[in-house]
C-alpha cells in the first residue's frame, strides 16, 4: 500500500464522520429512524479505515521520501505526515496537517471502535427520542473532531479540534436541554474547559512566538537544537505546563475535574463514548503527543496533578449513590492514573492504561446504560415516576433479572480493580511499578506518589465492588428493580465486545507481565528533546546517551533507559503489593455490603467529617460557585452598573452642566446685570440717595451691561 493512499484513507477516516453529521443535520427529519442506520454504517466504514491504517502503519515499511507541491508529504517508518498551508500571511505561512504514527494509529482504532459500538448501542437506547437524528448528528461531529485531535500533527489543529470536541460534548451533555440541570451541566463543562484551554492557548502562543511554527516536529526539532522559548528553560517548563493545562481541563484533572460528574446529565451512551473512553482521554493523548518537550519539572507537576486527582476522586466515589456518578469519579481517578503514569515516566504504561481503560470503562458505562434503560422501562411500565432509576439504593438483585449485564459488569469490574487475567491488571500493575521506580530513583517527598497510587488502587477496588454488590447482589429494594428485564442484543452486543476486550490475552501472552506483550513494542517512549540538564537522567534513552553512563552497564541495552530497568526490577514487588491492596479493597467491600459484617452507618457516625468531605465531593463545587463564578458575576454586575450609571452619567452630567450654564446665562441679564448695575451705582456712590430708588428696566440693563462690558474690555486690555 502506497503511503499516499494510506494518508488518503486517514483523511477519509477523518472526514466520514463529518459527512454523517452533515447528512443527519440537514436530512435527519426526512431520514427519521434511518438516520441511525446511516450514521452507524458510516462509522462502520470509519472503523474499517482505522483498522486498515493500524495494520499498514505497523506492518508495512515505507522508505522515507518527500514530495513537495501545495501539499507536502513526509514518509518514514516512524511517521507519515501531510502538511499544507492553512493561514497564508504572505510574509509567513502557518502550516498544518495530519500525521500517522503508532500512537495515533492505535488511538484511531480505540476511538473508532468505541464510537461505532456506542452508535450501535444508541440505536436501541435513544429509540423514540424526539431529536433522534440530531443525536446521531452530534455523535458524528464528535467522532470527526476526536479523529482530528488524534491525527493532528500540530498545535493549531490540536487546539481547533480540541474546541470542537468541547462543543460537541457541550451539545451532547445538554442534549435534553429542557432539563435545566442538563443545560447547566453543558455550560459548566464548556466554560471550565475554556479555562484550561486558555492555558493551552497561551502555551501555543509562547511556542509560536519562539519558533514561528505550530508543527510538532519543527518545534521539537528546534528545541532539540537547543533553541529555547525566550532562551530560558523555565519558560520551556512553563510552556509545557501551560500545554498540559489543556489536558487538565479536558481530562478533568484536579482542580478542573468538577465538570465531568455533572456531565453525566447527558445520555448514557454519550457518557460512555465521550466522558469515559475517548474525549476525556484526549488530555492524556495530548500529554503523550508532546511528551518529548516536557522538562523534569513539568513532568513532576504532571505526576503530582495526576496523583492528587486519582486520590481525591477515588475517595469521593466511595460514598456516591448515583450509579453514573460513581463511574464518573472512577473515570476521573483512572485518568489521574494515566496522567500520573506519564508524569513519572511510565509512558508506555500510561498509554496502555488509556487503551485498556477505554474498553472496560466504556463497558461499565454501557452496562450502567443497560441497567438504567431497564430500570427506566420498568418504572415507566409501573407508572412510577418517583424512584430515580440511577440511584443504586433503588436497585439490588439485578443479578437475577439481568444476568448478562451482570456477567459483563462483573468481568469489567474485575478489570478495573486490577485483578489478574484482565487487561486492567496489566496496565495498572505497570503504572504502580512505574511509580515505585520513580520514587526509588528520585526519593524524598516524591514517595507520596506511589503511596497515593496504591491507596487509590485499593479504593478503586472497594468502590467498584460496592457498586457491583449494592446494585446487583442482594434482594431488590424497589418494585422497579424487581420488574427490570434484560435488554435485547443490540444493547448487549457492545457490552460483550468490550468485556471480551478487557481480557489479558489480547495484549500479552503472559497474564502477569505487560512488558512481554506487543504493546510496549509499538508504543515506545519518544526521545525527549529538552536540554540534558533539564531532564531526568534516568529517562535519557541509552541509544544516544551511550553505554558508559548506564549504571548497570552490560544488560542495559535490553532496556530503553535506566527507568525501565528499575521498573522491571520492581515489577514483582509492585504486583504483590497491588494484589494485596486490591484484594483487601474487595474484601472490605464484601464485608460491608454483602455480608453486612461491618456497618457503613457506624463509620459515618464515627468520622462525620471524612464522610461529608467525601460525600460533598470535597466541597469543590461550593467553593468554585462561591468564589469564581460568584466573583465573576458580581464583577460583571458591578461593571454593568458602572457603565450604566457612572461612565454614561459623566457624559450626561456634562451635558446637564452645559445646558444649565446656558440657562444661567439665559437669565444672566435678569439677575446678575441688575446686580452689576447696582454695583456700578454704589461704586460711583455719587447720587446715593437717588440710586436708592433705582429701578432698571430691561433695555436699560442691556445698555448698562454693554457699557460695563466695554469698561471691562478696556480695563483688562490695558
Amino acid at each position: 500500500m502506497q503511503p499516499e493512499s494510506l494518508l488518503l484513507v486517514s483523511v477519509l477516516t477523518l472526514l466520514l464522520p463529518f459527512l454523517s453529521f452533515v447528512v443527519n443535520i440537514f436530512f435527519g427529519k426526512k431520514l427519521g429512524k434511518a438516520s441511525s442506520i446511516v450514521a452507524t454504517s458510516i462509522l462502520g466504514l470509519v472503523l474499517l479505515g482505522s483498522f486498515v491504517i493500524f495494520y499498514f502503519k505497523l506492518f508495512a515499511h515505507f522508505d522515507s521520501k518527500v514530495i513537495v507541491n501545495y501539499f507536502l508529504y513526509e514518509f518514514s517508518n516512524e511517521i507519515l505526515q501531510l502538511k499544507f498551508t492553512w493561514i497564508d500571511l504572505g510574509s509567513l505561512q502557518i502550516k498544518v496537517g495530519i500525521a500517522i504514527d503508532n500512537l495515533s494509529a492505535t488511538m484511531l482504532v480505540v476511538v473508532a471502535m468505541v464510537s461505532f459500538l456506542v452508535h450501535l448501542f444508541s440505536i436501541e437506547y435513544m429509540a423514540g427520542d424526539p431529536r433522534f437524528s440530531r443525536y446521531f448528528a452530534y455523535l458524528g461531529l464528535f467522532t470527526f473532531s476526536m479523529n482530528g485531535i488524534v491525527l493532528a500533527n500540530n498545535f493549531l489543529f490540536m487546539y481547533v479540534f480540541w474546541e470542537l470536541v468541547g462543543i460537541s460534548s457541550y451539545l451532547l451533555i445538554g442534549f435534553w436541554f429542557e432539563k435545566k440541570s442538563a443545560a447547566d451541566a453543558g455550560k459548566k463543562a464548556f466554560i471550565v474547559n475554556r479555562v484550561g484551554d486558555l492555558g493551552f492557548f497561551v502555551g501555543i502562543m509562547i511556542l509560536y512566538f519562539s519558533f514561528g511554527t505550530v508543527l510538532f516536529d519543527d518545534i521539537f526539532g528546534s528545541i532539540a537544537q537547543g533553541k529555547l522559548p525566550f532562551n530560558s528553560e523555565a519558560i520551556l517548563t512553563l510552556a509545557g505546563i501551560l500545554i498540559f493545562c489543556g489536558a487538565i481541563g479536558k481530562s478533568a484533572q484536579f482542580p478542573l475535574h468538577v465538570w465531568l460528574p455533572d456531565a453525566m446529565e447527558g445520555p448514557t451512551p454519550v457518557s460512555a463514548l465521550i466522558h469515559a473512553a475517548t474525549m476525556v482521554a484526549a488530555g492524556v493523548y495530548l500529554t503523550a503527543r508532546v511528551y518529548a518537550m516536557f522538562t523534569a519539572d513539568a513532568l513532576t507537576f504532571i505526576a503530582v496533578i495526576g496523583a492528587i486527582t486519582a486520590f481525591i476522586s477515588a475517595t469521593i466515589a466511595i460514598t456516591q449513590y448515583d450509579f453514573k456518578r460513581v463511574l464518573a469519579y472512577s473515570t476521573v481517578s483512572q485518568l489521574g492514573y494515566m496522567i500520573m503514569a506519564l508524569g513519572v515516566g511510565a509512558f508506555t504504561m500510561g498509554v496502555f492504561h488509556l487503551v485498556t481503560h477505554a474498553w472496560f470503562k466504556a463497558a461499565l458505562f454501557l452496562c450502567s446504560g443497560s441497567v438504567i434503560h431497564a430500570m427506566h422501562h420498568s418504572a415507566h411500565h409501573l407508572g412510577d415516576h418517583h424512584t430515580d432509576p440511577q440511584d443504586i439504593r433503588n436497585m439490588g438483585g439485578l443479578r437475577r433479572t439481568m444476568p448478562w449485564t451482570y456477567r459483563t459488569f462483573l468481568l469489567v469490574t474485575l478489570a478495573i480493580s486490577g485483578v489478574p487475567l484482565t487487561s486492567g491488571f496489566l496496565s495498572k500493575d505497570g503504572i504502580l511499578a512505574g511509580t515505585l521506580a520513580y520514587a526509588q530513583l528520585t526519593g524524598g517527598w516524591r514517595w507520596f506518589i506511589p503511596i497515593i497510587a496504591f491507596a487509590s488502587a485499593g479504593l478503586t477496588a472497594f468502590y467498584m465492588f460496592r457498586l457491583l454488590i449494592v446494585s446487583f447482589h442482594g434482594e431488590p429494594r424497589t418494585k422497579v428493580a424487581e420488574h427490570t428485564k434484560e435488554n435485547n442484543w443490540i444493547i448487549l452486543l457492545p457490552l460483550f465486545v468490550f468485556s471480551i476486550l478487557s481480557l489479558w490475552f489480547f495484549y500479552s501472552p503472559n497474564p502477569l507481565d505487560a512488558q512481554s506483550g506487543w504493546f510496549p513494542k509499538i508504543i515506545v517512549q519518544p526521545k525527549t528533546v529538552v536540554p540534558t540538564e533539564t531532564q531526568w537522567d534516568f529517562l535519557i534513552t541509552h541509544s544516544f546517551l551511550g553505554e558508559s553512563h548506564s549504571s548497570i552497564g552490560k544488560e542495559a541495552h535490553k532496556y530503553l533507559n535506566h527507568f525501565e530497568e528499575v521498573m522491571h526490577h520492581l515489577h514483582y514487588p509492585a504486583m504483590i503489593l497491588s494484589l494485596v491492596i486490591a484484594g483487601s479493597g474487595i474484601l472490605f467491600a464484601f464485608l460491608f455490603f454483602q455480608f453486612k459484617i461491618l456497618n457503613p452507618e457506624t463509620f459515618k457516625k464515627q468520622f462525620p467529617f471524612l464522610y461529608s468531605l467525601s460525600f460533598r465531593k470535597w466541597y469543590f463545587d461550593e467553593v468554585y460557585n462561591a468564589i469564581v463564578a460568584g466573583g465573576t458575576v458580581l464583577f460583571a454586575r458591578i461593571s454593568a452598573l458602572f457603565d450604566l450609571y457612572i461612565v454614561d452619567g459623566i457624559v450626561n452630567a456634562w451635558a446637564w452642566v452645559t445646558r444649565n450654564f446656558g440657562h444661567f446665562i439665559g437669565h444672566f441679564d435678569n439677575f446678575v446685570i441688575d446686580g452689576l448695575v447696582n454695583l456700578i451705582a454704589n461704586v460711583t456712590g455719587f447720587f446715593g440717595s437717588v440710586l436708592r430708588h433705582i429701578q432698571t428696566g430691561r433695555v436699560q440693563t442691556y445698555v448698562a451691561f454693554a457699557v460695563f462690558g466695554l469698561i471691562l474690555l478696556i480695563y483688562f486690555l490695558i
Binding site: 452645559t658 445646558r659 450654564f661 446656558g662 440657562h663 446665562i665 439665559g666 441679564d669 430691561r698 433695555v699 436699560q700 442691556y702 445698555v703 451691561f705 454693554a706 457699557v707 460695563f708 462690558g709 466695554l710 474690555l713 478696556i714 486690555l717 490695558i718
Partner: protein, 500 residues
C-alpha cells in the same frame, strides 16, 4: 477759486463711482412719490425697489474700481462690491419673501413705506461699505440704523413689534452716541477724520496709548453693536423676536454684513501699519493686541450665542441667538487680520446669507401656516409638509456646518484661516461651539420629523413663490457645498481691500 473748481471736478469724477447709490436714491424718491399716488397698489413699491436694486446691481459691474472720490471719503473696490452684491441679493430675497408674509400683508397700512425704508436702509449700507471718512461712516451707520428702527416697529399695532423698535432705538442711539464720542476723541488725537490720513498720522507720530485705545474701542463698539457681537448683542434677541420675521431676516443678514464690511475696512485702513509684500500679513500699529480683542469678542459671541440658544423655544429667537453665534464665527475671520481672513469672512457672509435667509423664509412660512413660532408646535410637521421640512433641514444642517452643505465650506475656510494664523485655541473653541450648536438645530428637526408622527394632521400647502425661492436657495446650499471653487475664487478676488 481753483480749489473750488478742483472740488467740482472731483465730484463730477466721483459721481461715476456713486452710480449704484444714485440709482438707489432715484428709486427711493420714486418710491416716496408712488407711495403718495398709488396707495391702492399694495406691492407697487416692491417693483420700484426691485427695479432700483436691479439697476444698482448692474451698475456695480461697470463703475470704475479701486478709486476714491468725494475728497478721499469714498472708495469703490472689489471688497465693497462683493458686500454690495450680498446686500442687493438679500434685498431681492426679502422682497420676494415679503409678498407672502402674513404679518406684513394682513394689516391696515399699505406696504409702500416698507419698501421705501428698505431702499433707504440699503442706501445706508452701500455708503457704509465704501466710506473712508469717519463722519461719513457715522452718517451711513445712522442711516441704516434709523431705517431699521422703523422697520423693526413697522407692524406698529403689534405690541411686541413696537416694543422691539423701542429697545432697538434706545440701544442703537446709545451705541451710536458712544461711537461718535469715540470718533471725536480719535479726531482730537489725530486731527483728521479720514481714516487713511489717520493711518498715516498714526504711523508717523506717536499718540497717547490709553486715549487712543479708548477711542478705537468706542468706535469698534459701534460696529460690534451692528454685528451684534457679545457683549453688545443684548438688543438682538428681543428685536429679532419682536420685529416682523422678514425684517428679522433682513437685519440678521444685511445689516450684519454691512457691519462686518465697515469693521474690516476700518481695521484695515486705520490700524494696519504695513503689509508684507508676498504674504499679506497685517502688522498692526500701537501696542494693543487688536487680534486678541477681536478674538475675545468672537469667542464670547459664539459661546454665549450658542449656549443661550440651547434654551430657546421660539423659532425666531432661536435663530436670533444662532445669528449671534454666527457673528462669532465670522469674527474669527476678522481676528486673523490678513487677506485670508478677509476672504474667509466674505465666503462666510455669502454662504451665511443663503442659508440664513433660507432658514428664515422656512420659519416664516411655517409661522404663517400654524400661527405660532413655538418649536413645540411644529411637531409632526415633517409629515404634514415633507418638502418644506426637508428643505428646512438642509438649511439647518448648513447652519450646523456639516458637509456636503455650503455651511461646512464656510466654517472650513474660517477655521483654515484661523489655524493658519496660529490661533489654534480659537479654532478649538469654534469647533466645540459647532458641536454645541448641533443640539438646538437638531432640536428643530427632531420636532419636525421624530415627534408627533402619531398625530395624523392634514397636509399643509405653501405659496408657490416662496417654495421656489427656498428651493433655489437649498439647491445653492448643496451645490456650493460640493462645488465651491467659484465662491472661493470670487472671494479671494474681492478680498483685496484698496488702500490709497
Amino acid at each position: 477759486m481753483l480749489e473750488i473748481l478742483g472740488f467740482v471736478e472731483d465730484i463730477q469724477k466721483s459721481l461715476f463711482l456713486f452710480l449704484p447709490e444714485v440709482f438707489l436714491v432715484v428709486s427711493l424718491i420714486l418710491a416716496i412719490l408712488s407711495d403718495l399716488f398709488f396707495k391702492r397698489l399694495k406691492f407697487f413699491n416692491a417693483y420700484v425697489a426691485l427695479v432700483g436694486f436691479f439697476a444698482a446691481g448692474i451698475s456695480l459691474f461697470y463703475i470704475p474700481k479701486d478709486q476714491v472720490g468725494f475728497l478721499n471719503s469714498f472708495v469703490v473696490d472689489n471688497f465693497s462690491i462683493f458686500i454690495k452684491l450680498i446686500i442687493l441679493l438679500t434685498n431681492v430675497i426679502i422682497i420676494l419673501m415679503s409678498f407672502n408674509s402674513k404679518e406684513l400683508t394682513h394689516n391696515k397700512l399699505s406696504l409702500g413705506e416698507f419698501y421705501t425704508f428698505l431702499i433707504g436702509m440699503t442706501f445706508g449700507m452701500f455708503l457704509v461699505t465704501g466710506s473712508l471718512n469717519l463722519i461719513l461712516i457715522y452718517l451711513a451707520v445712522e442711516t441704516m440704523s434709523i431705517s431699521s428702527y422703523i422697520l423693526a416697529g413697522y407692524t406698529k399695532e403689534i405690541k411686541r413689534s413696537s416694543e422691539a423698535s423701542l429697545k432697538y432705538v434706545i440701544f442703537g442711539a446709545v451705541s451710536s452716541g458712544l461711537m461718535i464720542y469715540g470718533i471725536s476723541l480719535l479726531f482730537g488725537l489725530t486731527g483728521s477724520l479720514n481714516i487713511v490720513e489717520i493711518n498715516k498720522i498714526l504711523q508717523t507720530s506717536p499718540i497717547p496709548s490709553l486715549a487712543f485705545f479708548i477711542s478705537i474701542i468706542l468706535i469698534l463698539m459701534g460696529f460690534a453693536y451692528k454685528i451684534s457681537a457679545v457683549p453688545f448683542h443684548f438688543w438682538t434677541p428681543d428685536v429679532y423676536e419682536g420685529a416682523p420675521i422678514t425684517i428679522t431676516a433682513y437685519l440678521s443678514v444685511a445689516s450684519k454684513v454691512a457691519g462686518f464690511a465697515v469693521l474690516i475696512r476700518f481695521v484695515r485702513s486705520t490700524l494696519v501699519a504695513e503689509t508684507s509684500a508676498q504674504q499679506e500679513i497685517w502688522t498692526l500699529i500701537s501696542s494693543i493686541d487688536w487680534t486678541f480683542v477681536i478674538s475675545i469678542l468672537s469667542f464670547l459671541s459664539m459661546t454665549v450665542g450658542n449656549i443661550i440658544a440651547l434654551w430657546q423655544n421660539n423659532l425666531k429667537r432661536l435663530l436670533a441667538y444662532s445669528s449671534i453665534a454666527h457673528a462669532g464665527y465670522i469674527l474669527m475671520g476678522v481676528a486673523v487680520m490678513n487677506q485670508t481672513g478677509v476672504a474667509s469672512v466674505l465666503i462666510y457672509s455669502f454662504i451665511y446669507m443663503i442659508m440664513n435667509l433660507g432658514a428664515f423664509i422656512c420659519a416664516m412660512l411655517i409661522a404663517n401656516e400654524i400661527n405660532s413660532e413655538d418649536i413645540n408646535d411644529i411637531e409632526g410637521l415633517g409629515y404634514r409638509a415633507p418638502v418644506l421640512s426637508a428643505i428646512f433641514s438642509i438649511f439647518l444642517f448648513s447652519l450646523i456646518g456639516l458637509p456636503p452643505t455650503a455651511g461646512f465650506i464656510a466654517k472650513f475656510y474660517v477655521f483654515s484661516a484661523v489655524i493658519d494664523a496660529g490661533l489654534i485655541w480659537l479654532a478649538v473653541a469654534g469647533v466645540v461651539n459647532s458641536v454645541i450648536s448641533l443640539y438646538y438645530y437638531v432640536k428643530i428637526m427632531r420636532n419636525m420629523f421624530i415627534r408627533g408622527i402619531e398625530v395624523e394632521k392634514e397636509p399643509i400647502t405653501f405659496p408657490a413663490l416662496n417654495l421656489v425661492v427656498i428651493f433655489l436657495l437649498s439647491i445653492f446650499t448643496l451645490v456650493f457645498g460640493i462645488y465651491f471653487s467659484p465662491i472661493i475664487n470670487w472671494a479671494n478676488f474681492s478680498a483685496n481691500i484698496f488702500v490709497k
